[in-house]
């Protein structure tokens, strides 16, 4: 059971307080997008063995969504950061070693 720190309220939360929300930083495709781009947006996801950026919601806490940078094999957590952005902050990216 993972333990992640919510960057909004600062609570170190057990996984049972959180909801996983899949890959982070997807770019939404709306009307006018071509079939391939829309298919990729809806269905195609990387399934990396190693560092991964994923969405989590502190459902049974402050209710905020955030992003966790996590290694899917070792469960190492490189950091968590707010969901409002398009990528990890530099310090977390550095800890991931440019592997995501």
């Amino acid at each position: 059971m993972l333990r992640l720190t919510c960057p909004c309220c600062g609570v170190e939360a057990d996984e049972s307080e959180l909801t996983q929300g899949g890959a982070a930083h997807l770019r939404r495709e709306g009307p006018g997008s071509d079939e391939a781009a829309f298919e990729a947006y809806l269905f195609l996801r990387d399934n990396p063995k190693g560092p991964h950026l994923e969405r989590w919601r502190h459902s049974y806490g402050c209710g905020k969504w955030f992003i966790a940078a996590r290694d899917t094999v070792t469960m190492q957590v490189f950091g968590t950061y707010p969901a409002q952005g398009s990528g990890p902050p530099p310090d977390i990216a550095a800890r991931m070693g440019g592997r995501a």
Partner: protein, 997 residues
Amino acid sequence: MSGRLATGGRLIDRSRALEFTFDGRRLTGFAGDTLAAALLGAGEGLVGRSFKYHRPRGIVAYGPEEPNALLGIGRAGRFEPNARATQVDLSDGLEAESQNRWPSLAFDVGTLNGLAARVLPAGFYYKTFIHPRPFWKHLFEPVIRRAAGLGRAPRHRDDDTYEQVHAHVDVLVVGGGVAGLAAALAAGRAGARVMVVEQSAHWGGRAPVDGDPVDGRAPDQWLGQTLAALEEMENVRLIPRCAAVGVYDHGFVLAAERLTDHDPGAPGPRQRLWRIRAGRVVLAAGAIERPLAFPGNDLPGVMLASAVRDYLVNHAVFPGDRTVVVTNNDDAYHTALALVAAGLRVPAILDARAAPNGLLADAARAAGIRVLAGHGIAGVAGRQRVAGVKVCAVAGEGAVVEEIACEAVAMSGGWSPAVHLWSHCGGRVAWDADRAMFRPDPAHPPRGADGTAMVIPAGAANGRLSPAAALAEGTAAGTAAATGQDRIDGSDDPTGTDIAPVWMMPQGAGPALRAKAFLDFQNDVKVADVDLAAREGFESVEHTKRYTTLGMATDQGKLSNINGLAVLSQALHKDIPAVGTTTFRPPYVPVTLGTLAGEARGDLFQPVRATPMLGWHVEREAYMEPVGLWRRPYCYPAPGETHEVAVAREVNAVRQGVGILDASTLGKILVQGLDAGRFLDMLYTGAMSTLPVGRCRYGLMCSEQGFLIDDGVVARLSDDAWLCHTTTGGADRIHAHMEDWLQTEWWDWRVFTLNLTEQYAQVAVAGPRARDVLETLSGDIDLTAALPHMHWTHGTLAGIPARIFRISFSGELGFEVAVPAARGMDLWQALLRAGQGVGITPYGTEALHVLRAEKGFIMIGDETDGTVTPRDLGLEGMISKKKADFLGKRGMERSHLAAPDRWRLVGLRAADDSVLPEGAYVLDAGRTENGQRATQGRVTSTYWSPTLKRGIALALLRHGPDRMGQSVDVSRIGAAPIRATVVAPCQYDPDGGRMHG
């Protein structure tokens, strides 16, 4: 025959004799005994029958690795099957029964399986499942079902209680032996919060039994002093009878504690599940002795050498007058010496090694014990228990050179570190060829959140078998764990390197002998079975395990895994590391379901959400149904009324007079802010920003895929505020959906959402007399022409501040009145009083469903299942054509969602006006590619309509709306299809005059 010595036994209290029964026979043991010790002490050698061949089986081990002595304990509400006798503390009056035998333990019909062993080979189940099928159904299954299986499931409710608790510690030490206690002492002295869990009732592990000095002191002396020092530390908590069963991500560990099993009748919960979050785990779980594979090694009386020594030293229990020791390492000599010291006879030590020497061998010879080097066992004499052994040369094919009479055999095939908890969360193991064991591989530990190793193995669990190494490694591990280090410099102690790996005895044994040498006692897997699997092409150890069932019993192969792996590697002519290991998974030992459930049973199974009027419904004896966590009235049967009659009465009341429904469970989400309109336009398929204040609009929400996920009425409260009603089940989900988009996609939009579901009680007042009832409650609200359909207003009703929505889900004149939750009961009572004269009738969810189905209104979850679009439901009108974008717009443009041949909403009317079966399919001509009957639609809602006095149904049907008046066939289970006519979904008051009136 086993028995009890007149003196000795370091754990027993001879002044406290305890009576217990085994299969109804009254027996006696002592306080401090386990059930296994008491049974052996009472001479009970035969404790069970094996799973497959029903062979007689006796106690083999001393700890949780015991494969055979699985017993049913207790009776009625305190009965537990499959308890390991080695882990059951003896208590006065304990009732135990053997399992897996019929008609009796001594005479078991299933033994015939043993005679028929040649037709029950490895992979029997797989082979038989395939071919021939009738054999399985009529021959094998009935017989096997009768004879197979472990204990019987309890038939009574569990009378005991269980609890779960959380713990947060810096260092969790697993195992209370020398290494574990040394680790706790070091970590405690470093100031860490320490918790030590020990699965048995006693501290010290093997040291007090083996007797080697610890830190220059007698082991019991060291133990006493160490425990005293630990108990003085406030930051250290010692918990015996507590087994760590699983290690999970980020230092999460589950441990199961037995609280009152040893003291039945004591107050409090029976067992406790610890949910531990540990900064670092010191794994000092010890090691498990391996059996040797020789013909007849499963006969009662053949035991692990260490277990023989444990029973002897701790309980003064001996396995027989004469015990032959058979070994491939030095450690078993301890057992021979202990037996002789207790005055028992050891006719021989059969040592597989060519030239055993060293201190222990010398000591054995000096004690007058005959040591036969290079010898092993070719067979065991006796039917239900050991009568003697046939000695052979280990190197040969099993020619018997001598027969030795004995009552017991103590075997040792070396030691396997208990690496299970290391492996649960990704730790790998490495083969230590010098010691013939898998050890934790420090290069591949289970890692924690910071990327460091979260488990540090120490002592025997790390493959270091001497007390000196356990002390050194435990101390180092405790210090490391308390100071942020994640590894230790391991000891280079050579203990155990004297082993000569012998995986089958004799080494040249032919098929006949290999078919009598058991690897997995509980699942009856023999050396010959693994050989067969290898011959049939099973090269992967994971496949072999499943094919032979090796290691798949409730002991999870604690005794059998390594031996089975070694036999497989020999059969494949590969090295053991090249064959690899199977994966260890939690739990390390079985955990009772009660412990896993904890307090979550009965009334505490899950929270119940209560509307303010729930008490009234219950008092009125409404028939309740769960809707999510809510409890809602299904109907309110009058005395003597069936549910069907009650529902019909409630429907008629709404159609002809007035009914009230507790609609408080409907989701109510306030969406407010400068960008709220823009936001709702993205969320709903229709336009909400254009809704005037004071008006209501029905809205549909879709997923990005274009499928309908929720519906409800939206009311515009003010310039910048909308109240969104959701379905009862959708409130939390839709609120989360809104927050997801607001927080992660449109985070610069100025919108707040608030789930107000529980802040308001809401009552639907529906029927031609609805306005009359509300007007009786006076107040200041004009409910006539000033409040047309799909408008809302607010004011005071019966002295209660209220918001009144003129909306209808029944097709009748309808109002929904929302008041602060605390006033909900007042409103309900006021409505009942006001409507008394016109027969106001509370109605439940079933009447609600019938009413809406008569009108052809859809219900999320009935007409939708996550693959249905608004267009499928004839709701094209609800989809804005003007909006450039909304969630689901692009998704609905996908070719298969826009395809003309989708199943679309219609009504169905059975030719005989009966109620169509729920979930029935509309049949099509021909068959599918899979040979199944082709279908062209399905029934989504079907009810008896009291209004129309016939069955009504909604269905999704291919080209449905274009097929009005056509006949279709609807499937029935166990009966011929029934004819039905395609009709419009709305079968009552299609022009809506009643609703708008």
